[in-house]
Assembly symmetry: C2
């Protein structure tokens, strides 16, 4: 496993994401009030918004909406992985919610680059595919996914490509 | 295409999701202020939060975070597709952001059941896999995904399964 450090967001380019590189994304947590308010608006299921119901349920209390966990993760991806003023993502494969996320748990995330190829049709960019893992305090994965991101190449790579 | 209508959320069971059934999920929109505030917190990329930068960018203004579009969709899925007090989802395959989502656009969603099978290890439930499409006002898909959901079987099915 090759632990790597990216340059600052404004300087990140396709060439900075070699296959096999592992980047630490930092950590985040979801407070109970935020869990309930996010889910009340976007994912109003009893397990996320109804404290009384959830206290009697299988998890012993409210757990975060899986979409809220992804949203918290996305902030780390923007800050610690993607270039500034980057391109829109085409999508995500194999998003998995593996374990419940409880209020206040510290969640650490890391990303491994699994594929990186220059675009033929648009030579100013490449497609970076990666595997993202979110681990709870016990070190167990609570969420994994495989995002795809278009990343611009360095200006000098573009000039030399023909 | 078999357009179908589900029973009320409290009565929905695995048997109500036959393969090939198509359900209308209704519509939603994302207001510009909500787009900026959601993204400021969870997806702070210039294309979502910086109105001045975005006005000069390829989309002519801010566009919604793809995670915000999914969150708005999730509310429709909870209200118009899933059972009340349901089970946690194991994940999503092939989430795709196909077109930018602009502030105030009316987005319609529908879901088609693509697979439905009883669990062998847990006979009280089945796994329903579906294909969800979000269409803009022009009728073009802006987002698609393939969620998986565990849904409880009817009590009488459980009794008869041995």
């Amino acid at each position: 496993m090759v632990r790597c450090v990216l340059p600052p967001a404004a300087e990140r380019h396709f060439e900075d994401y070699p296959v096999g590189a592992v980047f630490d994304l930092g950590s985040f947590l979801l407070a109970e009030d935020d869990i309930v308010s996010f889910a009340t608006r976007y994912d109003p299921q009893s397990m996320h918004i109804d404290r009384d119901w959830a206290a009697q349920g299988p998890f012993g209390g409210v757990i975060a909406s899986g979409w809220h966990t992804v949203a918290g993760l996305m902030r780390l991806i923007v800050e610690n992985f993607l270039p500034r003023n980057g391109l829109a993502s085409p999508g995500i494969n194999e998003l998995r919610w593996l374990l419940p996320v409880y209020p206040g748990e510290t969640l650490r995330a890391q990303v491994t680059v699994t594929e990186a190829r220059r675009s033929r049709s648009r030579p100013d960019r490449g497609l970076v595919t990666s595997f993202v893992e979110v681990l709870n305090q016990a070190g167990d994965p609570v969420l994994t996914m495989r995002p795809m991101n278009f990343i611009r190449v360095r200006p000098e790579s573009l000039a030399s490509s023909g």
